[in-house]
Amino acid sequence: MKKNNSGFSLIELLVAAALLLVIIGPLLSFMRSAQLLRANAYKLTDVEQNARAALLLIGRDIQNTGYNFPPKTEIVGSTLLTPLLGTGSNALSSFYPIIPGNNINQVYTSSSTGAQAINKTDQLTLAYTNQRVNGGLPIVGTVDPTGRTFTLLTGTSLLDPTTSQQMLNVGDFCILNAGQNSAIGIVSQINGTNQVLFSSGDSAAANYGINNATDLLGNSKLGNLDPLNTKQLITIYSFYIVTYFVDSNGNLIRREHYAPPHTTVGGVGVASPSGDAIDTNAKPLVAKGLNATYTCNAGNTCYYDNIIATGIEDLQFTYSLVERTDSVTKLPLTTGPVDDPGFYGAAANGGNQSTNYRLLDIRRINVFIRVRAQERDNKLKDPYDTTKKTGYLYRFSLEGSYNTRNFYGSNYKPT
């Protein structure tokens, strides 16, 4: 019998190959488009992560804002705080833990035809007490009639019981609270472990003592009228001021403010109405994140900047307020969220600064954030581009809503 050792014929092989091609071919092209889609998906995911991270951080700070804050905190005559907060010539008499800024920053964007354009974004300043100082509890002590020299109660110390580090540092902001009254002081010197000096030229507490007829408790000024009772009991809290804004390059920045470190003029217990000398070279003794950069402008504003997200094209805040109908000087009842509850919004920016007391009425803040990819995708057409020339720019919007939990209750009832 003839040996059968022939294998495939050429025809058979061709037919098999053709069949294989017919079946595999479409699959290959499918995989190619899948690969493209996947690359696009990665770009989008990147963009989304930026939005998500930003929203998370802002939301946390909104929920924290006002923690342990007294309803009204005087910053009368402060030459430091007002420029820091950007109030310019419209000096505030009170400090609020929420300071909105409506459409006051500009960011470069790209129009749908690809041209560079400018978009206006909001900013938001929030303040809350520093829970790392004394475990969030107030530091109790006495203050002299100038309101400037604060001495801790006997037996207590400025050293943290667990870490043995100084709990307060030069340049920290403090709330000085005495009963119904409170003021802001800026730490300018620390003596040993039981005495803090607040800067005199810019501390409202100091001005209370020096310039006002009454002390922090609302009594007649102690130094003149009651020499036996020259020290009164007050509590102090350390607190943070942070500002969220988008710079012109689309970086979302969390700015942590500090007062410029001072050298105290005049020494302990001596009033220095002309203000203390400012040392712009000295840094506050705090480190704020890996990417933080420290900047100190001559005289007024020092801060740590942290970039928390990039590619931000728009940042908008709207505010839900407690309703009020009580008087003609107050805004009419508002049902929906408002874009600008006052303060910055006013004069130059289309709001009404005279209504800044409504800042206490803010109960919910809605955050809109829009992020874009770094580059256009030239394989896709932009549906909003009337010229149909430029590629598609990936964008993603996210909105979060956060209650200002610390404003609930009687502390921040409308006045």
Binding site: M1, K3, N4, N5, S6, F8, E12, V15, A16, L19, L20, I23, I24, L27, F30, M31, A34, R38, A41, L44, T45, E48, N103, T109, S111, S112, T113, A115, A117, I118, N119, K120, E313, D314, Q316, S320, V322, E323, L333, T335, G336, R363, R364, R370, D382, P383, Y384, T386, R395, F396, S397, L398, E399, G400, S401, N403, Y408, G409, S410, N411
Partner: protein, 208 residues
């Protein structure tokens, strides 16, 4: 006898190719899932934020007592309790599209979907006053590149999302604690419906 050294027949080869192709098609299916995953993650993220937003709006109503919410009883359905403002839960009646919050700024209530600013009374109305305006996100600043000017802005309505607010009394009358459940559902690219659920308990505790 000569040794038999037969190769594969054409039929065998074709069968092999068909088996291989079946396997590849199954792989392609996995690929589809892979491609749609990022979109699913995106939808999930949006749904989470929407659920959170709805819950925060209800907490806002309870704590700040705007018009229509001056009592704790207002956190209930509009039909069963004339004080309530939320859409009835009977059947699936309170599953609606992702409408705007309406003049009261609270999601899940009978004035959702309205763009007017005048207060809408919900007393006993169930879902009778619902508007049709959907929540949307601006997706493009238009030819001027500025989002604050609305001309030419592109926007994306949240058509693929729906929401539901379920309120349960946890104590007998007078009710002092309620459970609020928020569900936000969305359709994925492969046609499934997925839901993000958020549950919160509210009491009528007030800081003195």
């Amino acid at each position: 006898m000569a040794k038999k050294e037969k190769g594969f027949s054409l039929v065998e080869i074709v069968i092999a190719i068909i088996i291989m192709a079946t396997g590849l098609v199954a792989l392609a299916g996995a690929l589809v899932v892979g491609i749609t995953l990022p979109k699913r993650a995106r939808q999930q993220e949006v749904a989470k934020q929407l659920a959170n937003e709805i819950m925060e709006s209800i907490i806002f109503a309870k704590e700040s007592q705007p018009s229509g919410y001056t009592t704790f009883d207002a956190i209930s359905y509009a039909d069963s309790n004339s004080l309530g403002r939320f859409i009835s839960s009977s059947g699936n009646a309170n599953i609606t599209k992702m409408l705007v919050a309406g003049p009261d700024g609270v999601y899940g209530t009978c004035d959702d979907g309205n763009t007017s600013t005048a207060f809408i009374d919900c007393a006993g109305s169930g879902a009778g006053n619902l508007g049709t305006t959907l929540r949307s996100y601006t997706t493009d600043p238009g030819s001027d590149g500025d989002y604050s000017t609305t001309s030419g802005n592109g926007s994306n309505s949240l058509v693929e999302y729906s929401r539901q607010v379920i309120i349960t009394d946890l104590t007998p009358a007078p009710v002092s604690a309620k459970q609020v459940e928020v569900n936000v559902s969305y359709k994925t690219a492969i046609g499934n419906t997925e839901t993000v659920k958020l549950v919160c308990r509210l009491t009528n505790f007030k800081t003195l």
